[in-house]
Amino acid sequence: MRSLFKLAILFSVPISLIISIFLGRYPVNPGEAVRAILSIATPHLVHSPPETVKTIVVLYRLPRVLAAAITGAALAVTGASLQSILRNPLVDTYILGISAGAGFGAALAIAFLPPVPIEFVAFLGALMAFFITFSIAMLWGKGSVIAIVLSGVIVNALFQAGLSLVKYLCPDPYKLATVTFWLMGSIGAAAFWNKVLRMGIVVTLCAVLLYSIRWRLDILSLGDEEAVALGASPIKERAMVVAVCAMAVATIVCYTGIIGWVGLLIPHIVRLTVGADNRDVLPYSMLLGASFMVVADDLARCLTSTEIPIGILTTVMVAPFYVYLLKRSAGVWR
């Protein structure tokens, strides 16, 4: 049963990627799409399709689909890792306020500090948000599950307010437009080869780091006391994991805006279907996250004549599951 689910998740990625390349306002038939991609790699061997098709496939569809896949993979793998180290299946970078922190940092950089790299300020914002979330939870809630979720909600709201303030105070109408558009969350904004490349490099690096400590994540998920009894140093190791997750998510947020819920739900589905061990959860979360986001983005761009912001779509798709999880976990909140 488990291997069946693994296969299904494995195949969902290429299938969703390929289908998505054909989908869109401008019809591209499958043969043309494949030839367009091949003609880039081997320009002389393949009979080249019309220039328009080539442009659409290679310059618009392909980077867009890849951007969606990278975004989904990053959100899911960071969600899975944070769930392990906080021993809490109800968190992800969005719930913990990390995404909002990164968004605040990025908005600040776009609006007021042009010469600084946006990613770097976003990363600082993400770390700061997590630090505040976790401090509140530790100081007033002994770091319990519900305390972390609640203080995440507070910090999230705080940084969202900060975002509004940045928009309000932004002196330059052009920059204001940039911030506003980007904040709505859109894969379209990231659908350029140079951005895809940057996202790809950072996310791959972070994913490799997280995967290489997969067993350590298992140990940390036993809780601080048992982890210490098994010779680990939970506080130090947790800080490292958070830094890596913040880096991945800060990069994603810089290009696609704030997208919630995906990182929470995907690892949960993976645990239910292929098992709880992080050597499975991490890679299969990345794969399922990628195909989920590709499909969500297809819906965002094809469902109506104008594009629906992807953050709205993922929330609508995932929220019912969250209610269900919340109900199921109510018993363990003591």
Partner: protein
């Protein structure tokens, strides 16, 4: 008999200011099971956590000869003490095989993984404890007694020298409680671990399974010694406020609680 753990004057207060341990001292000898017996909130769990350095108390613990336990790296200490926490199901439903293998953590750094040989060790230990058929289930599906055996298996895979068990019989029916305690006694008799400290709430099981008993009350050890010496009705009465009938039957000590009069 050689002393494997010497506890000398532990004092601990929780951050909130609650004084949990006032002055705790006792010796643990090779081949022995020491039971900490005392009312709720007397400090038993706190003692175990201090030994493990989950909490950092004042005072000293000397392990294996004369090494102070705060001079060791946490990883080295984890090769000495094996912890069986009060049973609770882990948040994520790991496979039992993987869950037991986590006992190998002190032998690995951040990046390394348990090897095939170590997984074979998991099977050997499971065979020895007679829980082989559980290996491919998930931890969430286990009964309380099975979970307890799995946790013990984890400490054996850990190659711990001394086991620290917090209420290993809590929530277990009589047959499972006896099974778990028998297993603990067996692994000590075979020399797989040198000694064990456990906490219990049942004075008769304490009498049956302990080589030494420490009565704990308000963060102090008020009596320490072999069960015959410590499990006396007046002593127990002063601790629990309950009168006891203590008698011997076929050379076994029976401790019967009678009531609060």
């Amino acid at each position: 008999m050689r002393v494997v753990v010497k506890v000398d004057g532990l004092r601990y207060a929780y951050p909130a200011g609650v004084k949990a341990l006032e002055d705790v001292s006792f010796d643990l000898h090779e081949g022995e099971i020491l039971t900490l017996l005392g009312p709720n909130g007397s400090g038993k769990t706190t003692i175990l956590k201090c030994l493990l350095r989950i909490l950092k108390p004042f005072g000293a613990v000397y392990i294996d000869g004369e090494r102070r336990w705060d001079c060791l790296k946490q990883r080295e200490l984890a090769k000495f003490f094996g912890y069986v926490p009060q049973a609770h199901y882990p948040t994520f439903p790991y496979r039992v095989r993987d869950y037991i293998a986590m006992g190998r953590a002190p032998y690995h750094g951040m990046l390394s993984l348990p090897s095939k040989v170590e997984y074979m060790r998991v099977e050997e230990v499971a065979k020895m404890l007679d829980i082989e058929e559980l290996l491919d289930r998930t931890v969430a599906e286990l009964s309380g007694g099975q979970l307890q055996m799995v946790l013990i298996a984890r400490t054996l895979v850990q190659e711990a020298k001394v086991l620290l068990l917090d209420e290993p019989t809590a929530h277990l029916d009589v047959s499972n409680a006896v099974k778990v305690l028998d297993a603990i006694r067996e692994i000590i008799k075979k020399g797989i671990v040198k000694a064990a400290v456990m906490t219990l709430h049942d004075p008769t099981l304490t009498a049956l399974y302990s080589d030494k008993v420490a009565l704990v009350k308000d963060g102090r050890v008020v009596a320490y010694g072999c069960p015959e010496k410590v499990l006396k009705s007046d002593l127990l009465n002063s601790i629990y406020g309950v009168s006891f009938d203590v008698f011997k039957r076929e050379n076994r000590l029976i401790v019967l609680p009678l009531g609060t009069k």
